[in-house]
């Protein structure tokens, strides 16, 4: 039995210990906001935060997060929306939207690490793939969220 704090709530799972966290989240905990895109850790659609770090959950065995704290797209906003989510809506970032949970989680982690990132720092950190090509609006939304944080 693995025990994880997900979005602030203690959850338990009897999934085999080597089950990827992605599928435990989606199927055992009914948190379908985190998406399956490749299963290889390349596309980033499955990005969640584990102890505040961005992690590709399709490659992370659930046993590795036993006793840890996981935050998903459903929990990143808390009571209201996260400033990154607000920026995402303001800039109408998503097209099909399937990659966007992962993009947002990666962006939140970036801004925690670098509150005022340059374009080059955004490029280096945001390696999540988007087949619809929303990259330029992702970049603008990150800059907006960074600016909003300066008050």
């Amino acid at each position: 039995m693995n025990s994880i704090r997900v979005n602030g709530v203690l959850r338990e799972t009897d999934a085999e210990p080597d089950t990827p966290l992605l599928w435990v989240l989606r199927e055992q905990f009914a948190l379908t906001g985190t998406k399956f895109g490749c299963g290889l850790g390349v596309c980033g659609a499955c990005t969640v935060h584990v102890d505040d770090q961005p992690v590709r959950s399709c490659l992370l065995a659930v046993k590795a997060v036993h006793g840890k704290s996981v935050v998903t797209i459903e929990g990143i906003g808390g009571e209201t929306m996260h400033p990154v989510q607000i920026a995402w809506i303001e800039h109408q970032v998503p097209q099909c939207g399937y990659c966007q949970s992962g993009q947002i989680m990666a962006a939140v982690a970036l801004l925690k690490r670098i509150p005022q990132p340059s374009d080059a720092e955004i490029d280096r950190a945001m390696t999540n793939l988007c087949r619809c090509g929303t990259y330029d609006r992702i970049r603008r939304a990150i800059h907006s969220a960074a600016l909003a944080a300066t008050g």
């Binding site: 089950t19 599928w23 998406k35 299963g39 459903e74 939207g97 399937y98 340059s118 955004i122 793939l129």
Partner: protein, 727 residues
Amino acid sequence: MKLPESPRRREFLRLSLLAGGSLAIGFAVPACERGDGQAAKRGAKVPEPVSAWLKVHRDGRLTFVNPHAEMGQGIWSSLAMVFVDEFGGDWATTEIEAGGLQPEFRLNPYVREVFTAGSSSIATGYLPVRTAAAAARELFLTAGAARLDVAVTELSLVDSRVRNRQGRSLGIGDLVDDVLRLPPPAKPTLKSDADLRYIGRGIAAKDIPAKVNGKAIYGIDFHVPGMQIATVKLSPVHGGRVVRSNAAEIEKMRGVRAVVPVPHGLAVVADTFWHARRAIDSLEIEFDAGDSTKVDDNSLFEAHSAAVRRQDGVVGYDEGNALALVGAGGNVHEATYYGPWLAHAPMEPMTCSARVTADRVDLWLGTQGLEYAANEVARVTGLAVDRVHVHNLMLGGGFGRRYESDYPVQAATIAKLYPGETIKVIWTREEDIQQDYLRPASMGLLRAALGSDGLPMALLVRVSAPAIAAHSPGFAQFAKPVDTTAIDGFANLTYEVPNRRFEWIQTESHLKIGWWRSVGNSLNAFFKECFIDELADKARIDPLEYRLRMLGGDKHAATRRLLTELGRAANWGHAPKGHVQGLALHETFGTMVGQIIELSVTGSQIRIHRITCAYDCGSVINPGPLEAQLRGSIVWGLTAALMGEINIDQGRIRQSNFHDYPLLSMSQTPAVDLVPALSGRAPSGVGEPGVPPVAPALANALYRATGKRVRRLPISRDGFTVASREG
């Protein structure tokens, strides 16, 4: 802006009362109700028209029933916006729901099917939706006038309230019963441009908040308690069949319920995706695919090379005396171009949930081919098509892949074995790429005779390509005599060339082929626009000037304007030192797009500095999604041109995931400037037109840098890599 011409058929509004008291407003088109769709052709019963484009609830809320699949093109909100703007509704309280198989949703006059493809949703839906909305508005104003005892001319419908100038108003919910008693208006009057609030200006999309907070439901997210999960493995060599497998052993794995047959492969049915996936990965299957295993990149290339040398192709058009003129001596130029197989790879792999009972099928999926899916599932379950209920969810990318019926048929095939149970099929990414309906490779041989002015006075185009349209029942009529996808971009050449001839050599293989964003234009533009550049070079005329000279007369005034605007915006001919520019111009599905790519080359590394993209889609309906689609299609086109290649080894696709089928990343995406060059005609689509000019503009720019022509895609074949954008 100009509105499209009224279709010749008669249209009328239909009103009905739904259970619960809401008013349903439909826009029934008699031609649809005769069942001109494919189902009727096969003698199947056509569903009773359920007339509901708009629902007016007693509390005044509106629900717009959207005919189309939402795959990131923004049609979900755009079409609802058009209705609400013309009607006078309150956008804030408007909800949108997905339509089903309703005859009035067969909006395309050429393809009598409910589908979303071909950059046609706005072009085909704009006028019908506005007309229906205007008629609905007039009904509510008439009802309001009677209730308030004033002339209709004293009233307006704003934010879902019928108001007079003095401030008296009635909510539309309160007028439902009155409206039901009225005859629908014969010929409603559309609002003038001055009275529109949203059309042409834009609106906040209704689907975006859920796509930002994780609540949006895609096909892969659909869930009911107790549902079973399946995943599949099909013959990697398309068309093959299962000979034997170790299914009996695999069925013993934890969580596995059964291993069952599906067309061309096997499915594992289990309690969770991970259990299904582990089982499918352990499943050893022997397939038999016969001679198809002998096919590879070389044999396919050789087949095309031989094909374009043939003189007996099907003639698509033959104006003047092209064949003789390009055969005579003199100033003749010839070039042959080739483009590879490409996969779609939408971010959400193929997935569909199905529940089959004795008298009903429910499908939950994201599909561009709603009617096609219903027809094919009806066929495999033996039920009438009106018993198949398609619940269209958000699509994690479509790009033409989600038009196909293979994955809903697969889900229904499995679900049929478990009557009453809901089975969700989720493909692995490997299966999604390996079982794609590919953009086929094709080859183009072009030969031109230049006149004394250096311009082509005769042009022969010979394309070796398979018949894409032929594989879809709804589009098969466009496969003869020449498959429309093979001649796209040449039939509508744009440039004035007095002698023109087109020949198609149909070259097939065992590989599954399908509709890939911009379809035949994706390679025909590469053939055409690279060749035009080669002719310009031969004539020693600037490529932009060369094209302008072939676009004389009033007919091409808008295109000349677009090209000139493009050149100005991109500073054509004045690139900074060390930079080169390449140009391409192409019309796709009625929308003209010109692009200039500015890049520099250092060794084998390409750095793209800027892409300028001018477009004429007639008029702008919803600017946000329009720009998003143009930018997105440039990223799509760049991925393909720079690095896109599906290789075939021993009959099967080599690539299987994003490690060997890479997509352009954010760091590789250059700055794009969009330049509107709108002619003001009725709107055409922008989902695909931004794709075709990318490859030739890139190749034409590379020639300036290297002196070498790229005649075969992708660019990476010549050893080029793409550097990250400038910071």
